[in-house]
């Protein structure tokens, strides 16, 4: 499903974000990427949707070498990935419902089916009652749930989350991870980056531990 083979990411200036990282995630697996700030977690996750390109090595997603993809092919790769970020990346001039509808605007779905899908995603994360609200009116945890709804509305095969609980209290953070676990139960591959060892410890899942750009176990 996802495999890294001797992946090195070197930034302009020579700083290395990743130093020869290799691992594989199987379809339907749930894994954490753990490590302190600056360990390379975000860099690793950004290589999967080709937000960053590897300096050397290969990143394969569903057998496709994403590092070699042309610019025009990237949207089609990203439509199969659900991305969740620490800062949510929501549109604050649109309603909750419109934010979730955004990925469906360029899908093949008709208007009625798209609306049904969006409401189903909002219901899944417990935000259907707030579909008309502006994201700014939501709490941090609710905003993160909205970001998850937007990430899963296209029914991606992989869900990638970069520090989705970093700005949340322990209870909200656990609730967010439960949502990820629910999606994993229905076959979605989940990869979550987090520096919160206590939270990771609550879920008996595989952990890819990074330190200084290298996998340490």
């Amino acid at each position: 499903m996802i495999s890294f083979s001797s992946v090195v990411k070197r930034y302009p200036g020579g700083q290395e974000g990743l130093k020869g990282v290799s691992f594989a995630i199987e379809a339907g697996e749930f894994a954490f990427v753990a490590g302190h700030s600056g360990a390379g977690k975000s860099t690793l996750l950004k290589l999967i949707p080709a937000i960053e390109r590897p300096s050397s090595g290969a990143v394969l997603v569903n057998g496709q070498n994403v590092g070699a993809l042309k610019r025009a092919a990237l949207p089609y790769l990203r439509r199969n990935l659900g991305l969740v970020f620490q800062d949510q990346k929501l549109l604050y001039d649109r309603s909750v419902y419109d934010n979730v509808m955004l990925p469906l605007a360029f899908s093949e779905l008709g208007g009625r089916e798209a609306a049904r899908r969006a409401r189903a995603a909002l219901e899944k994360v417990g935000l259907l009652a707030r579909e008309k609200a502006n994201p700014i009116q939501l709490s941090g945890g609710e905003q993160q749930r909205l970001a998850i709804a937007r990430a899963v509305v296209n029914r991606p095969s992989v869900l990638i989350a970069d520090e989705p609980t970093a700005s949340l209290d322990a209870e909200s953070a656990a609730a967010i991870l439960e949502i990820f676990a629910d999606f994993n139960k229905v076959g979605v591959t989940v990869l979550v980056a987090s520096h919160d060892e206590a939270l990771i410890g609550r879920f008996a899942k595989r952990v890819l531990r990074l330190a200084g750009g290298s996998l340490v176990q």
Partner: protein
């Protein structure tokens, strides 16, 4: 196809939404574009009106051969037959003195002058059209015709018409240059407006790219916005032109009527008016295309 149409419908709605969100700025842009376009459009309308006035004038070189008043019709016919057999002549038309007077009466502003005449002072004449428009051939032919007994005067008629034609050609060129210059201005205005829109929506573009929107999908609303802005500018240009011509025609009609003429500056015909609006929309689209092509590449998710 259905998806493609839906996406275009959404892009048009988004473009209208952007215009509606910035009504004052959009209106000002349309006025600026309208003023810029009304100048060449006005020049074109003016030239079209003048061309209609001079349409009857012969632009092809021709010679008017005026006969002496004492020449009788059989002698005139003989001269006409001789001219028709001349290898250098392509066409000969006889204009009798009676016909010439009628044509003079029909000329705007001269009816009263002709009516005041006690007798017809005009001679019989031939209008001779040479095969070649060469000045040397014309001069040689005119000299020969002047030497014929019974010919009072030979006039090379085309000179003034050619001068007018050359003047009109120069004016057309000036208008074309002005139009090109102002078209560049329109593209620059749209380029800048769309640049600001792209920068304002930087976050939305970045998110759209992250969740799988293609460049074509992201660009489309901006293209429609540029085209709509151009379209609005074209309509404003027509409104400015219509109002200006109406105001000018008050003075023009007074001046023309003092010469016994009903001349008015005419508005563009439907085809030309449509061309102005479509041309403006196309330039708006082009400005948006240049702007989005440049700035969209600079926005990538981080």
């Amino acid at each position: 196809m259905k998806t493609w149409l839906r996406q275009h419908r959404q892009a048009i709605a988004a473009a209208f939404g952007k215009l509606a969100a910035q009504k004052a700025a959009a209106a000002l842009n349309a006025v600026v574009i309208g003023i810029a376009l009304s100048l060449p459009a006005g020049g074109y309308a003016l030239l079209s009106s003048l061309r209609n006035v001079t349409l009857g004038a012969a632009l092809e070189p021709q010679l008017s051969v005026f006969l002496r008043t004492e020449i009788k019709r059989p002698e005139a016919d003989a001269l006409g037959a001789r001219l028709k057999t001349d290898a250098r002549v392509s066409d000969v038309r006889f204009v009798s003195r009676e016909q010439a007077l009628k044509e003079l009466q029909a000329t705007e502003g001269l009816a009263e002058v002709v009516a005041a005449l006690s007798r017809n002072p005009l001679p019989d004449a031939f209008v001779v059209r040479p095969k070649l428009a060469n000045a040397a051939v014309l001069d040689a032919l005119a000299t020969e015709l002047r030497a014929i007994a019974g010919v009072a005067h030979v006039q090379v008629d085309s000179a003034w018409a050619r001068r007018l034609g050359a003047l009109a050609g120069t004016a057309r060129l000036a208008i074309a240059l002005l139009a090109a210059l102002l078209a560049f201005g329109l593209v620059a205005i749209t380029f800048n407006t769309i640049r600001l829109q792209v920068l304002t929506q930087r976050a939305e573009i970045e998110i759209s790219k992250l969740i799988g929107a293609t460049d074509a999908f992201i660009r489309r609303p901006f293209f429609y916005l540029g085209a709509l802005q151009g379209l609005a500018g074209g309509l404003v240009a027509l409104a400015i032109l219509g109002a200006s011509l109406a105001a000018l025609n008050i003075g023009v009609s007074e001046l023309a009527s003092s010469y016994g003429s009903s001349f008015r500056l005419a508005f563009l015909n439907a085809g030309d008016a449509l061309a102005v609006v479509l041309f403006s929309a196309a330039l708006g689209w082009f400005g948006a295309f240049l702007s989005v092509s440049k700035y969209l590449l600079e926005i990538e998710p981080k």
